[in-house]
Symmetry: C2
């Protein structure tokens, strides 16, 4: 076994999920994530945690959903009981085909998702962490050779998370103290209010309200957005290539949009509901282990020297206790490269210029 698989498991179990003796852990295993699952099982054994492995396969889901009449029972008792009694949920993604469920119709998918709301909530109430094992299928999606993709993925995952958490803490502090953010770049000049919102230092650990591995971003929930933003990082949304989306905001809401490619997908997303036309997230990527786009949001949005904005639902962690932020059935991230001709301002002070933060060498005021 590649030693990095064991290191990945150790980061996941110890740093990310903070697993302790006696924890009841559910590990969801993708069909090609077997090797990581073995390493995680070993680590859970060492910690004296209790392991139950579930099997998460797009092909199973497809077969089940296509055969079903669509009238799903709400939150089946056996699955709900499993997650209500789980302390930790670790999702080890890794299938054989990222398009495995492409021919399941959206209505069925939506009905199944709606019927399992309490199960989803129970999972989110646990110390959950989502990661992926670098598979050939993900390498293909990234247009990369398998070995090169593994190097890429482990560079992103095996960080010095403690020191990155410290650095991200600086940006979190500035955002928590600030009232307005301005992002300026070629084709972009956008202002957002953030007064009263709390930024999340997403350091890939439940101890930081962060549930992705890799992570490495600081995010908050903006409002009252004004201006124009262009997203130059290519991605796939709903199975379609999307390139160079441009959004124009007035009074917090998208009033104009276009895209070089995939414009209709963007239109569909915006029409989902009222909240889909407002921002739910402003995220600043700070993981410099990620040095290229791989068409996988788990990695792309964390990339150093990028900023992403999400249309739709805001995260509770960014809001004052009990308050509710932007609500929507969707949360779609769009990413822009800020490594050149860009600046990020908080209350008029430049905190990042051309990808370099004010506390880094080479920063120009």
């Amino acid at each position: 076994m590649d030693e990095r698989v064991r290191e990945h498991a150790a980061v996941l179990v110890d740093w990310s999920a903070r697993v302790e003796a006696g924890d009841d852990v559910v590990v969801s295993v993708g069909p090609d994530a077997h090797e990581l699952a073995v390493a995680v099982a070993e680590k859970l054994g060492e910690r004296g945690a209790n392991l139950l492995a579930t099997y998460s396969s797009g092909e199973l889901t497809r077969a089940y959903l296509r055969a079903h009449d669509g009238d799903f029972e709400d939150d089946p008792a056996h699955e709900l009981a499993l997650y209500e009694n789980a302390d930790v949920y670790l999702s080890l993604g890794g299938g054989r085909n990222t398009s495995a469920t492409a021919d399941v119709d959206g209505e069925t998918r939506q009905a199944y998702s709606s019927a399992n709301g309490e199960i989803r909530e129970a999972r989110l109430d646990s110390r959950w962490v989502s990661t992926v094992h670098p598979t050939r299928s993900l390498a293909q999606q990234a247009n990369m050779a398998y070995e090169a993709y593994r190097d890429f993925a482990y560079d992103a995952i095996l960080r010095d998370w403690e020191s990155l958490a410290d650095e991200m803490g600086r940006l979190k502090e500035l955002l928590d103290e600030g009232s307005a953010v301005r992002l300026v770049s070629s084709d972009t000049d956008l202002t957002m209010e953030i007064e009263g919102r709390t930024a999340v230092n997403s350091a890939a650990s439940v101890a930081y309200d962060s549930h992705n591995l890799p992570s490495g971003e600081v995010f908050t929930a903006p409002f009252a957005t004004e201006g124009t933003v262009a997203f130059d990082v290519p991605m796939t949304l709903h199975g379609e290539a999307v390139r160079n989306v441009r959004l124009e905001f007035d009074d917090g809401e998208v009033v104009e949009y276009d895209a070089e490619q995939g414009e209709s997908v963007v239109g569909e997303i915006l029409e989902t509901d009222e909240g889909a036309r407002r921002l739910g997230e402003l995220g600043i990527g700070m993981n410099r282990g990620i040095d290229r786009y791989t068409d996988n949001i788990l990695f792309d949005e964390k990339m150093g020297e990028t900023v992403h904005l999400a249309l739709g639902r805001a995260y509770d962690a960014n809001l004052p206790e009990g308050a509710s932020g932007n609500d929507s059935a969707v949360h779609v991230d769009l990413i822009t490269d800020v490594s050149e001709d860009s600046r990020l301002e908080i209350d008029g002070d430049v905190v990042q210029r051309n990808g370099t933060f004010r506390w880094e060498d080479g920063f120009e005021e």
Copy 2:
């Protein structure tokens, strides 16, 4: 997908487990049983049952158990809750190496098993069925090519179960009415009492108290065994080859034993506890789709023209309501070929001679 995989799934879901709309089903998937799992998921979708898939991997178990200090928590709450709320449990065996857990020490294995007693009971309280997907690893264990092994396995699994159940019902009736069984063959002359015991018509369906697919045997719980029996079907027990075991019984208990190969393993089994020296089962194989030994008890003991006897624990289904039969920590089946020079008598009447039952063509009184 080989159409037989879909047929296997249909037999399992409809005939064996009697799945109905709204059933909460747990499907345990071996790493190489993916294809069967997809077919089962499709069938469960058609039936409107609720699916949760677990991942059952010897390599995960090995990694977990070897890393653990051996002080296991009793019946972890999340796993217990899952099975207590499940209506149906389908185990789809199929790993990549039948020796995957060979280097886990027996004490750890035993401690883990003891700690999970309530979970095991909860599974046995559901409509559980155990089957296997024909994998390369099972083909290897059978000394067979993969394609030939698939043909073998589907011949055993895809029977006309309804008509086999009818035929087995005849033998069950004779056993239920009888008081004593005598088995005579070369090197074998054994008598057993069966008065008051109920035979199980093991027709591969929970509707018949039968939980294996394939099945195809009629079994009961004998007592007061006297005489000698020789088992000529080769098998592997505790990882060791066992050949031509001979047991001598007096007053229900083994008083002498020897074996051409694996004698020490037989000795260990007999010394487990007091019940290990008595019989827990007399089974008569009636599945003529199974035409060779494959060193897999799921198949071997069901083979037509064989009889097996188990040392150790008796099944409750064979006993009067509330009564307890032979008790032991073990239940080890040993098999003898009765296709030649053999006869099976119930109360002095020959019911099977040289593998042919009295209701079959060619039977000689």
